[in-house]
Each structure stands twice: as structure tokens, then as C-alpha cells.
């Protein structure tokens, strides 16, 4: 595939047909049931089947949708999930290699592609291990047993006496048949069974062992890895001229001079959608700038006052959802101490290092889109609707991009490339956003407000708890074409879909709003705000980050009032043994009991949560120093403990937890989207500062609590919430001042400590 296509997606360009014609391949077409999104709709029920299958087998039950074995013994695994830099490819290969009993390096993996893989919705919500990992594990185990069954009848040996190893079935006599010899074209075209013969964790050779990630060597040697690196023959470069603000209307555009610029092939205008296509990338950029200078827009002032954001938000009309109520009867304690606090979070940007990019090509009446979307199927649906094409005429292929951390500009860039390519048949069109476009147009993580109230009884336990959270939706993803900027801006002006709250138990704005703590009385209300002054959607961990920040800050405030150590206070209210264990392990690894006493500018803080109350458990202890004169916070050391159920790639888990902690430090210390009444004002890295090396902790230890044989629990979003609270709690410990408004900037801290 030389330099044209990203190396590790080259195999994704095999057509399903070629796959079907492959010599001795045992894959045949499979039926995919309607879209099931991983986080936005929850797990769909198997249509018409009474038994519950494991993970994504529920929606895609045929084994050959997951595993293909060729006559030459080569094995291909398929997943509908995408590599986002989280290392999922390596983990999924480990699982397949383990259960199928094949060497890891004999495996190929094909990821999210609407022509080749199952529809597993979005790669989001820390669901990939649970959905796809579980499906592959069970499919591989069942395929292994089917192969052993074939070998048993061929060798005339009872299956129980046969053993599979390294892609071969071996009899006690030493007779061997390789998987390639055993396979036949329809052997695996069978529905999965509800129960699989899974390997005993004690016998693992690949799982639960740190495995170097397969994508890293290409990434550090200039391999063609990213959609940004694609160079198709005849490819043209496009740049979009975005409106200067939400809702701006294109009043006039002077394109004559731009048309004469070197390399310019076309100017595309469709309503408020304006783009330029050129032969070379830098020509497209220069033409875009001239075109922008020659465009007149009518803008509208629709944005709230940034300084009054929290009040504005909680004043907007909202729908109330009582998501938790525990009114056990017992008279209120007369000695109760009551506490109340309000916490706020601003809009936060995904701020990927690489602006969004996509390549699209309309050829033979099929539109192919290479995209770093988190959901190839929903993206296909949106693009097909936008262009009035039947969905089977749109082929979306996932190719890696810069880390996205949720719904950033990826889908929109795909929509841009698709719209432009639809107007220039034949030529592949590459669109990359400019830095300022990524900042101004990505959907932000919503601003939020949380109010907590609790009282302590005379024994220092929480007697009752009340918590309310105000938030927009946390998912405006495609499916609907109106979710794409191109769809909104084109002359058709497709309306954005109506915002919906994401349901519990995973939740959206109310994700993690229900504390895991044992409380005698509690009430939790989600105030869902439909109207969205700024464009918002899913940002890594959704409302979980803010709710854990608020709840875990409040727990420390209560511990202080109860004159109890914060870790002891948490343990006093935790029944779940796995929760207790991560808390204890993090505290021990950190040396919590022997920690330096807080005050005089140095302090320690603790934070804990189980992500979504159903995924990985994570506890974090942090020590930091505050520079009195500047208000600068310097995190010194961090210890984390995490329970992800059965671990697959321990170093991959550590990488995710470390990354989540540092990203959370950045959100917590620095980040807020700025805007005036019309425009987004943060458009580069000087107006939207993030964490830099000077603020990186000296040490960060992640300890994995092993849970052999337990279900996989996704960990990509487990650490963000606990890290933010540990930080705020350490600041309070260091200074005696509680900061409740994010971000905890130096300016806010200085104001609090009276410098």
C-alpha cells in the first residue's frame, strides 16, 4: 500500500467481496442489526432472542463477524471499535490470541469500517473492552471449541483429550491438525452460544501481561498512521471558511480574486457553507484566508455573559429528573451539622493537538470517507442523510487521528470532506481544519453547576444528602445529519437534533451524580437544560468529571466538619469491598497515614469514584505545593489505584490512567472556553492554555488491583473525576481555602488566600 494509505489500516481496504473470495476463508456475509450506540442508548437488547449473549455478540451474534480463519492458517479479528490512541487494538488482539490459542503476531485486526465490521456504535464511554473485548473473547473461545470439535471427528479422538495451542489442535498421540487444515468456508458462520468455555485466568499467556502496543513503532518512526497522512492519487486539498460565530449568515462573498490564485481548483458554496479546493495544501490555506477576507457575514449576539455563566445556566428552563431517592425513615438528628456548597465548571474544549481531518472520494456512485470519527456507522447515517444518498452508497472507514477525547471536530470534518467531494466527483478531497476552527467550532464539554447539601449526625456520619446538577446534554453526536456542521451550514440548513438527556444508569450530565457511598437518606436530581447557548457534546467522562469533583470535594468538606481523616471518612461510608480496596491501596501506596501535615503551602488530597458507578474503580492521592506569591500550584506526587476487572494489558491500563490524571490536572487547573456575546474568543494555545511540562508531577504511580476472571471494566475515563477532586482537596489542605469553581487558576487561588 506504500505511502498512499496508513500502514495499519491497509488491510481495511480489502473489500468484503475480496474477503469472501479469499482462498478457503470461512467468512461469509453477516447480518448486522440496527445501530446500537455504546454510550448514548445503552446496550440494546438482542432482537428477537431470549438469551443474552456476551458483549457486542448481542447485536452481532455470528462468530464470523468477529473471527476469520484462512486456509493458510492466518487469523483476522474484526472489531467495530476504533483505535483512538487508547491502545484498544493491542488489547483486543491479546484477548483473541489468548482464547483462540494463536500466537499474537499471527493475528491481524480490522477496526471500524462500515463494509467490514460489526456496528458497535461509538467508541466511547469506556465501553470497548466491555462490548468488543467481551464479544471477541467469547467468539474466540467458541471458535476454538468448534475447531477442536472438527479435529475430534477427523482424528476420531474425544474432544476432551485434544488441546489447542499456537493455531494447532494436538492429540495425546502427538497427531496435529492446524486451524488452516480444519477450517471450512462456513464453519464459523454460526450464532454464538450464551455460554463459552473461557480459559482459566491462571493459564493466561497473553492476557494480563503487559504487551507493547502494536501502533507505537509506526507512530515514532514517521509511518503513515493518521488520516492526516493519507495521500491518495489525484488528491486535492480543501479548506473550509467557517462563519465567524454561531448562526452567522453569509451575506456576500467576493471570490473572483481567489479563483485566480495559484492552484485553486474550485470554490464551493452551499448556503453558509464555504470552502476552497486547491491542488496543494498551502495553496488551499492561502486561498482560504483570502476567501475569508472577502466574505461578509451577518452575526448575531446570542451568547450569555461569561462572568455570569453559572447563574445564567441554573436560571435557564430545565427538566427535572429525580434519579435517586432513599427516604428511609428515621427522625432527623437534632445534633446534625448541615453543610451546603455550590460547584461550577466552565465549558471545556477537547482541544486535540491535531485539528480534525478527513478524506472523501465520490467514485462509481459510492462515497468513501476516511475519518477519525468515533462512530463509523452513525457518521455514515449522517452523511447519507445530508447528501440524500442511500446509506449503502456511503462507506466510512476509520483511520486514526490525533486523540479526540470525545466528540470533537472529527465527524464535522468528515461531513465537510463528504459535502465537498460530492460536488467534485472522482477526486479524493482532503480537508483539515485550522487550529482556530477546531477551537471555535468543536462542540465543547458543557458548563455545569452542582449544588450539594448534607448533614452529619452526632457520630460524624452523613445523615442525609441532597444533590442537584444542572447541565445540557452530553451528546449531540451524529446519526442525524443536522448534527454535522456542514449539514447545518448548507443551504438545506438541516436543524440540529433535539437534545436529549442520556438515561441512567450511565447518565450524561448526571453521570456519577449518585454517590457510591452508603447514605441513609439521599436525593439526587438532574436538572436537564435543553437550550444550548454554546455548541456542546461529549467530552471524555461526560458529567462524571464534574460530579465526582463536586461530590468528592464535598466529602472532604464534610470530613473536615466531622473532624475525621478524609480517607477514614470515605471508608466509613463505603460498603462495596472493591471500592474499599482501591481506596485503601491508593492511601497505602501514597503513604497517606504518614503524610506531611497540611498547611503552610503544602497539602495532600484524596479522590475516589467508580466510573458511571459500573465501570472501573479508581482512587487517587496527590501531594502539591502552592507558591504563595503567584498562586501557582505545583503537583509533586500522585499515587493511584485502579480496579478494571480482569486486566488485559496492564501497561496499557497504566498509560490510560496516567493520561487521564494529567488531562484532568489540565482541565482542573487551567481550562475554560472564553467567549463574548457573539464569538468564541479562545482560538489558539495562548488563549486556551493547557498543562505543560513545567507543571507535570515528579512522580505518578498507578497500582492495578488484580481481579482475575472478573468482567472487563473500561478504564479510559476512570481517573479524571478522582484526580480533579484530589487536586482541589490538596489545595484546601495546603491553604485552608476551598475552591469550588473550576478551573482552580492561580488568579482565583491568589484571591482566596488574599495575596
Amino acid at each position: 500500500m506504500t505511502a498512499l494509505l496508513p500502514n495499519d489500516t491497509a488491510s481495511a481496504h480489502i473489500s468484503r467481496r475480496a474477503v469472501l473470495q479469499g482462498a478457503g476463508a470461512l467468512i461469509v456475509s453477516f447480518t448486522i442489526s440496527p445501530a446500537a450506540s455504546s454510550q448514548d442508548k445503552g446496550r440494546a437488547k438482542a432482537a428477537g432472542t431470549a438469551v443474552k449473549l456476551a458483549g457486542s455478540l448481542t447485536n452481532t451474534p455470528y462468530l464470523d463477524a468477529w473471527i476469520r480463519i484462512d486456509a493458510d492458517g492466518s487469523v483476522t479479528a474484526f472489531t467495530g471499535k476504533a483505535e483512538l490512541g487508547q491502545g484498544i487494538k493491542t488489547a483486543l488482539l491479546q484477548i483473541t490470541a489468548e482464547e483462540l490459542e494463536v500466537p499474537l503476531d499471527h493475528l491481524t485486526l480490522i477496526t471500524a469500517d462500515t463494509a467490514l465490521t460489526a456496528n458497535e456504535g461509538y467508541t466511547a464511554g469506556s465501553h470497548s473492552m466491555q462490548d468488543s473485548g467481551t464479544a471477541l473473547r467469547n467468539a474466540a473461545a467458541q471458535a476454538r471449541e468448534i475447531l477442536i470439535g472438527v479435529a475430534a471427528s477427523r482424528m476420531n479422538v474425544p474432544a476432551a483429550q485434544l488441546k489447542a495451542a499456537s493455531g494447532v489442535v494436538i492429540a495425546p498421540s502427538g497427531a496435529r491438525l492446524s486451524y488452516g487444515e480444519l477450517v471450512s468456508p462456513t464453519l464459523l458462520h454460526v450464532q454464538a452460544q450464551p455460554v463459552s468455555k473461557l480459559k482459566d485466568p491462571a493459564s493466561f499467556r497473553v492476557m494480563n501481561r503487559s504487551q507493547p502496543r502494536i501502533d507505537i513503532p509506526g507512530k515514532v518512526t514517521g509511518g503513515s498512521v493518521y488520516v492526516q497522512d493519507m495521500r491518495l492519487p489525484g488528491m486535492l486539498h480543501a479548506r473550509v471558511v467557517r462563519p465567524p460565530s454561531y448562526g452567522a449568515q453569509l451575506a456576500a462573498v467576493d471570490s473572483a480574486a481567489v479563483e485566480r490564485m495559484p492552484g485553486v481548483m474550485s470554490i464551493v458554496r452551499d448556503g453558509n457553507f464555504l470552502a476552497v479546493v486547491a491542488e496543494r495544501e498551502y495553496q488551499a490555506i492561502k486561498a482560504m484566508r483570502s476567501l475569508a477576507a472577502g466574505s461578509k457575514w451577518q452575526e448575531q449576539s446570542t451568547l450569555p455573559k461569561q462572568a455570569e455563566l453559572a447563574a445564567t445556566l441554573s436560571g435557564l428552563p430545565s427538566q427535572e429528573f429525580r434519579i435517586f431517592e432513599k427516604p428511609e425513615s428515621s427522625p432527623p438528628d437534632a445534633a446534625a451539622t448541615a453543610l451546603e456548597a455550590t460547584y461550577t465548571r466552565p465549558y471545556v474544549a477537547h482541544a486535540s493537538i491535531g485539528p480534525s481531518c478527513a478524506v472523501a472520494q465520490l467514485r462509481d456512485e459510492t462515497l468513501t470517507v476516511w475519518t477519525h470519527t468515533q462512530g463509523v456507522y452513525p457518521d455514515r447515517q449522517a452523511i447519507a442523510e445530508m447528501l440524500s444518498l442511500p446509506p449503502d452508497r456511503v462507506h466510512c472507514i476509520h483511520v486514526q487521528g490525533s486523540g479526540c477525547y470525545g466528540h470533537n471536530g472529527a465527524d464535522d470534518a468528515a461531513g465537510d470532506a463528504a459535502l465537498i467531494a460530492s460536488k467534485m466527483p472522482g477526486r479524493p478531497i482532503r480537508v483539515q481544519w485550522m487550529r482556530e476552527q477546531e477551537f471555535a467550532w468543536e462542540p465543547f464539554g458543557p458548563a455545569m453547576v452542582a449544588k450539594a447539601r448534607a448533614s452529619l449526625d452526632s457520630s460524624g456520619r452523613i445523615a442525609d444528602w441532597e444533590y442537584g446538577v444542572w447541565s445540557n446534554t452530553h451528546s449531540m453526536r451524529p446519526g442525524p445529519a443536522g448534527a454535522l456542521l456542514a449539514g447545518q451550514h448548507m443551504a438545506l440548513a438541516l436543524p440540529p437534533p433535539a437534545p436529549k438527556p442520556l438515561p441512567q444508569p450511565e447518565g450524561g450530565g448526571d453521570r456519577n451524580a449518585i454517590p457510591l457511598y452508603a447514605l441513609p437518606h439521599a436525593k439526587v436530581v438532574h436538572h436537564f437544560i435543553p437550550s444550548m447557548p454554546l455548541r456542546v457534546s461529549a467530552l471524555r467522562s461526560l458529567g462524571g468529571y464534574m460530579n465526582v469533583f463536586s461530590i468528592e470535594s464535598f466529602m472532604d468538606e464534610l470530613a473536615l466538619a466531622a473532624e475525621t481523616d478524609p480517607v477514614a471518612f470515605r471508608l466509613k461510608h463505603l460498603d462495596d469491598p472493591r471500592a474499599r480496596e482501591v481506596v485503601t491501596v491508593a492511601a497505602d501506596r501514597f503513604g497517606w497515614s504518614g503524610r506531611q501535615k497540611g498547611g503552610s503551602g503544602r497539602g495532600c488530597g484524596f479522590g475516589f469514584a467508580r466510573y458511571k458507578n459500573l465501570a472501573a474503580y479508581c482512587a487517587i492521592a496527590m501531594q502539591l505545593a502552592v507558591e504563595h506569591e503567584t498562586g501557582r500550584i505545583r503537583v509533586e506526587r500522585i499515587a493511584a489505584a485502579v480496579d478494571t476487572g480482569q486486566a488485559v494489558n496492564p501497561d496499557g491500563i497504566r498509560n490510560q490512567i496516567e493520561g487521564g490524571i494529567l488531562q484532568s490536572m489540565s482541565w482542573t487547573l487551567y481550562e475554560a472556553v472564553s467567549f463574548d456575546d457573539t464569538r468564541i474568543l479562545c482560538v489558539d494555545w495562548s488563549t486556551y492554555p493547557i498543562l505543560r511540562f513545567g507543571s507535570v508531577p515528579n512522580s505518578l504511580d498507578v497500582h492495578i488491583v488484580e481481579r482475575p476472571g472478573q468482567p472487563f471494566l473500561g478504564c479510559g475515563e476512570a481517573s479524571q473525576g478522582p484526580a480533579s477532586a484530589a487536586l482541589a482537596n490538596a489545595v484546601a489542605d495546603a491553604t485552608g481555602k476551598r475552591l469550588r469553581d473550576l478551573p482552580l487558576t492561580a488568579a482565583r487561588l491568589k484571591a482566596a488566600i488574599g495575596v
Partner: protein, 159 residues
């Protein structure tokens, strides 16, 4: 036509002289490592080495680069024969999405070429100009420290 010396080879390039080096590397020479991140000299994703100094290739026009030695990640080694800096990043598994990593490697490489016995503090200070959004910082620091060691093995002490 402009001549550019990249990774030891001279290339004639048919691009406008005001074109920033980044686009010539990526589009004309088909080198993937240097990345577009901001085009503003603010993030370091595009960092390459010019005559021993780390520079932002997104803001330096090729006009200014005649006769200079340009090195990119591709010049440090290959996937089959990774150089010490690349090996260090692989051994430390120092990447998540990896988009920022080539820029990190080039800035670190320039630092270590000038000062093979660099302190942790200098590594941090130097990398301050490069941004990583995935939070891979701890591993990047470890990888650069490892590269210091690997380079000492690779080039026995010069006196």
C-alpha cells in the same frame, strides 16, 4: 525550484518560496512525522531540526532554508532499525495517540545532541514548548531519559 537538504539528501522542490517547511515535508517529500498542530509556532507538533536547532517547521518558509541541514524523525531511524530516540519511546511505550510525539522526539534530540548529559530539569524546561493533550508527559520524560542512556551506549564517550 528550491533545493532542500532533508535527512542527508538533497531534494528539488517545486513549491512557492513562502511555503512553510511543514507542508513541503508532508506534501512534497511525503514525510509523515512532522505534524500540523497549530501553524502558529505554539504547540511543537511540527518540530524538526535545522542545523542542530529545534525549529517549528510550520512557521519557517523554505526560502530561509537553502543550504541548511534539515532532520526529521524519519532521519533518526526506521521502523526496522529505530534510532536510540525512537527505541527509547518504544521501550517506554511513550505514546497514546502519538500525534505530538515526533515533535517531542525532535526537540529532545536537538537537546541531547548539544548536551548528552542533560538534567531532568533541562529536559522539562526544553519540552515546555511542546504540548501533549493525551497526558503522556510522564512517559515522554522517561523516554527522553532513556534516550540519554541509549545514546551514550550508541556513541561511546567522545573526549
Amino acid at each position: 525550484m528550491m533545493e532542500l537538504k532533508v535527512n542527508g539528501r538533497v531534494h528539488s522542490v517545486d513549491a512557492a518560496p513562502d511555503t512553510p517547511l511543514l507542508y513541503v515535508l508532508r506534501d512534497d517529500l511525503q514525510l509523515n512525522a512532522a505534524k500540523y498542530g497549530c501553524g502558529l509556532g505554539q504547540c511543537g507538533a511540527c518540530t524538526v531540526i535545522v542545523d542542530g536547532e529545534a525549529v517549528f517547521s510550520c512557521v519557517i518558509p523554505i526560502l530561509l532554508l537553502q543550504g541548511k541541514e534539515i532532520t526529521t524523525v524519519e532521519g533518526l531511524g526506521s521502523i526496522d532499525q529505530p534510532g536510540p530516540m525512537q527505541r527509547a519511546f518504544i521501550e517506554e511505550q511513550a505514546a497514546q495517540c502519538g500525534y505530538c510525539i515526533p515533535g517531542m522526539m525532535m526537540r529532545a534530540q536537538a537537546l541531547l545532541q548539544k548536551n548528552p548529559l542533560v538534567s531532568d530539569e533541562e529536559i522539562r524546561r526544553t519540552l515546555e514548548q511542546n504540548l501533549c493533550r493525551c497526558g503522556t508527559h510522564m512517559r515522554i520524560l522517561r523516554a527522553v531519559r532513556r534516550a540519554v542512556q541509549l545514546m551514550q551506549v550508541a556513541t561511546p564517550a567522545r573526549t
